[in-house]
Amino acid sequence: MQRVVVTGLGAVTPVGVGAKAYWEAITAGQSGVGPLTLVDPEPVPSKVAAECLEFDPTASLGPKEARRLDRSTQFALVAAQEAWEESGIEGGVDKDETGVVFATGIGGISSLLASDAVMREKGPNRVSPFTVPQLMPNAAAGQIAMKLGLRGPNFCTTTACAASNHALGLAFQAIRHGEATAMIAGGSESAFVQVALIAFGQMTALATKFNDRPTEASRPFDALRNGFVMGEGAGALILEEREHALARGAPVHAEVVGFGQSADAFHVTAPSEDGSGAALAMRRALRSAGLAPEDVGYINAHGTSTPAGDVSETKAIRLAFGDHADRLAVSSTKSMIGHLFGAAGAVEGIATVLAVRDGVLPPTINQTDPDPACDLDYIPNQARKDQVDAAMSNGFGFGGHNAVVVFRRHQA
């Protein structure tokens, strides 16, 4: 089996565009949550959001390309291009042996609804011919391949909020098993349409008690939490076969060492109460990595800030790690960037990679009132310097999907 390293990173996030800006913001404990502006907030119960307000699609992609793409795919292309350039891989890899796995939870829903409105208001003959290529969930994977000329494996994963951890894991396996030399893995999401916010609100999944204090709304594991904050963005990672990366002198941020997946087989939206489904995925990820629980120092938790989910994940970590759970550092960067759905695992994977590379663990902000049911070390409020050797990133999705990726500090 081949070893797999991370050689490029790209991100579009609510705390900044670019992986460096993102990392600096989250290690400074900066919140990207603000008032909801991308849709009319009036009928929406949760009026806070983590929006990518700095993102300028025309400047990044040009007017023609920007107009043809759904906002989620604009994010994907910008993140993928950043990662590609940072890795310095252009000209140094066989593009027929390089692929893309890109995730989304929801796809181009805002493009679909915009065309639906045109059809109703102006008639069927006014519907844009770009509607279908904009709304399809596989748009980002296809567009990235076209942009960069990559003809290796190419597909999308759509397992809700676990989707980009599946993308990372399946890209890792493709290289590990010799199916590709390099892969762009990641995810993107932008689902800011009224009906989505209202529908999540009807499930009582969104934070509604902090409309006047947006930066305090996402507070995973804290006793005052009452739902997640919807976010948007994209993350992209260049995964590359290790010997190939070393031979071309590539920058190596970290090694991808394990992937585990499971299903709760319990409920379509609620997590298994004892955390046993998620624990299975964590154990399998450790097995895939050939690591013992004691080898892991940090977990970037799924931690969405919902009352049930954070308790279930805490139990899952205890189940998977046993006594070592009390020596783990665990944080949810969703406290700062909100919940990016199908992009969550990619953006959080970048944080996990940089945590092991730099020996800095990002915090969980808004920790003011401890919840006795959430009793791990959540790195409250301030980043921590700690050189961990291996770290895990958790992603769990509606439907009961669990996907877990393990990264290790790279030693040359």
Partner: protein, 85 residues
């Protein structure tokens, strides 16, 4: 009232510049959509939609099929305006 060919092409410069992201100077009567303006088949449908909206006309798929250049599109627009007006 029908516009002159020059007036229609002048209006089309704005429409095509925004739809196709091309410089207005490149939008001449002789410019070919595919070769000179880098417009694929989906772009052409968007251009037709924009022209229909701008000039208040209806263009059928059959009519647009033979159109290769900006000038031919302008002629089609004028024939439609005449038919309406």
């Amino acid at each position: 009232m029908a516009q002159s060919r020059e007036e229609v092409i002048e209006t089309m410069k704005d429409v095509l510049a925004s739809e196709l992201g091309v410089e207005a100077d490149k939008v001449t009567a002789d410019a070919r959509f595919k070769e000179d303006l880098d417009a694929d088949s989906l772009d052409l449908v968007e251009v037709v939609l924009a022209l229909e909206e701008k000039f208040g006309i209806e263009i059928s798929d059959d009519q647009i099929a033979g159109v290769k250049t900006v000038g031919e599109a302008a002629d089609l627009v004028i024939s439609k305006q005449t038919a309406v007006g």
